[in-house]
Symmetry: C2
Subunit: 205 residues, 2 copies
């Protein structure tokens, strides 16, 4: 498929540009409402004195997420895809040119909520994480093997609701490791501020 090859080439160009300016970029993928924005907010709050942070938000519609993150005093840019269910390297190349890359150390990119197509479109980032929520039930990992193969970190969020949902975070973690033995699994509750420091450490930030 030419699209995917062309995307990989552009992703390599994005990486070259980011590395030229010493910007570390993280692609935050995950299902709808899993907690991607909450996690970016929680990490931004803890890291904004250590790094100069920026954020790109990807959604089909609305600027809700970038507005939430901009309240923490960092530069944000919202991409509305209109109908595409994933971000791609072309959109990211255009977006990063809008930023003053000289004055950024860390860039969070929140991908469109979807566990399928974002896996096929690397964006040129240094790390790709995938966020799922306990509230989706016990099968959301086994049903979406590709994205867990592509990501280096799997975040299992909303563990505060494990009992209410009768879903075992350990089973979900072992599902991810079966698909990708290299993947690092971090269990979080953004609501109760659990696991955020561990996630930051595993990202090497």
């Amino acid at each position: 498929e030419d699209f995917l090859r062309r995307n990989r080439e552009l992703a390599d160009e994005v990486r070259l540009l980011l590395d030229k300016y010493g910007v570390t970029a993280i692609d935050v993928m995950g299902s709808i409402g899993a907690g991607k924005t909450c996690l970016i907010e929680a990490m931004t709050k803890r890291l904004k004195d250590k790094y100069r942070i920026a954020m790109i938000g990807g959604d089909v519609a609305t600027t809700i997420d970038s507005e939430r993150v901009s309240k923490h005093g960092i530069d944000v840019l919202q991409i509305n895809t209109g109908a595409e269910c994933h971000l791609d390297a072309n959109l990211i190349m255009k977006a990063i040119k809008e930023f003053d890359l000289e004055n950024i150390d860390l860039l969070f990119i929140e991908n469109v909520g979807n566990l399928i197509c974002p896996a096929d479109y690397p964006l040129g980032t240094h790390k790709r994480i995938v966020v799922i929520s306990i509230t989706e039930g016990p099968y959301s990992i086994v049903k979406h093997p590709l994205i867990f193969r592509e990501a280096s970190i799997c975040v299992i969020n909303k563990i505060d609701l494990s009992e209410a949902m009768e879903v075992d975070p350990e089973k979900l973690a072992s599902d991810a490791i079966k698909i990708n033995p290299e993947i690092i699994v971090v269990k979080t509750s953004c609501k109760q501020d659990i696991g955020i420091d561990e996630l930051i450490a595993k990202l090497g930030l």
Copy 2:
């Protein structure tokens, strides 16, 4: 886009075939883990003495959902798309030919978990419903206007977790009605067996 036009033509052919055999078909779309399978199971349990029911399950991978539904003693068929984030009329045309349509009154089609692409691919069904979960937070409807325009019924599931999530089902319902004033909103808790009879009534079953 030729794909979409071709899909609409095939959807019309699917509908002709369904109508020839008097089969009512319902496209159950929704986000990952929203409760699509649970709702199909709950409706099947209540309706299997009234209708001869069959189910087609669509997922990227696994046969988990069709196996769950087949336990209720109805014919099922699992479609694994491999990488596609939506079902399309071509896949459904092939699938329905596997069934003995003479002996089916009602066909549930569970679409791939995704609030974006399924909207663009009608399957030839008589009704399209879209299921979201309270646990996705307050924004999953406003962020995905297209699918709520295409569906005739919006199900807001897992209302048993409204307090734990601090999410108001009324706000979500009004989001759906703003996008599509014709849409019928039904609030359910599959876990507590709430709203299932209302959903059945609104589907005219």
